[in-house]
């Protein structure tokens, strides 16, 4: 019962702020609504007993990536929304219709396949390491070690790429 209230509240807030991200006039307001969306998604993770992922979401997404977006918005000084003229070749309504079709398809699949209740998380606590962080740690370092190392190389390459792209002269 409590979980239902929490889920519906969080879902409404997430979707509400996401719509505001996409429709805000000022870019800085959009960025702020994105932070709010990420924070509520982190709360949703806590609701699903994924605390480590929730804190990582706040730390990396809300505290890192969106700060980067905010820096770019300020350095580029984009105060006015540059949507003055419409491009006649753009098809907005087709885009929205396609999004609606995708949404309907996902909803149909979900209702067809996943309508059983969620199992209680008592099973997870009985597994090795009662702690969510420990379990995720074991998964990352034991089962998925190679993707972990590849992800670290990816981040190194991204860091180098970002520095080279943003430098004034090479």
């Amino acid at each position: 019962m409590g979980e239902a209230i929490a889920f519906y509240t969080l879902a409404a807030l997430i979707l509400g702020f996401a719509v505001l991200v996409v429709t805000a006039r000022e870019t800085v307001h959009s960025v702020l609504f994105l932070v709010a969306t990420f924070l509520f998604v982190a709360m949703l993770y806590v609701l699903q007993h994924a605390e480590f992922l929730a804190v990582i979401q706040v730390l990396v997404y809300a505290g890192g990536i969106v700060v980067l977006y905010l820096f770019v918005v300020m350095l580029a000084n984009l105060k006015s929304a540059p949507e003055a003229h419409e491009d006649p070749r753009r098809r907005d309504r087709l885009g929205i219709a396609l999004a609606g079709v995708v949404l309907a398809e996902f909803v149909a699949i979900a209702l067809y396949a996943f309508t059983g209740p969620l199992p209680a998380s008592a099973g997870a606590a009985a597994a090795v390491g009662a702690n969510n962080t420990e379990q995720v740690g074991w998964a990352l370092y034991a089962d998925y070690l190679v993707p972990f190392e590849v992800a670290s190389i990816l981040l190194l390459v991204a860091m180098l790429g970002a520095i080279v792209l943003a430098k004034r002269e090479l």
């Binding site: 979980e3 239902a4 991200v21 992922l53 996902f106 979900a110 995720v136």
Partner: protein
Amino acid sequence: MTITPAHYIVLSAALFAIGIIGVLARRNLIIIFMSIELMLNAVNISLVAFARQYDHVTGQAFAIFVIAVAAAEAAVGLGIIIAFYRNKETVNIDEITLMRW
């Protein structure tokens, strides 16, 4: 009313659809990038819902990798935006159409 995985998947699909609308309907490049981040978050929500359903932490590990890739992509994408803005003074994607000007 019990919350089934279907609820989380519907939420994830709705968030994904909002992200798609943002990418297709807005012309500001930064808003488009932020809509891509919304789509990645939608995928993360459904991954965590699956992890909960099958009682296996793999979904959450996968979600961590998605976050890492999103960080890398945001860094490089914003670097490209800055480099472009320095040359052409715009972030409207309808004007970023020519290789030389």
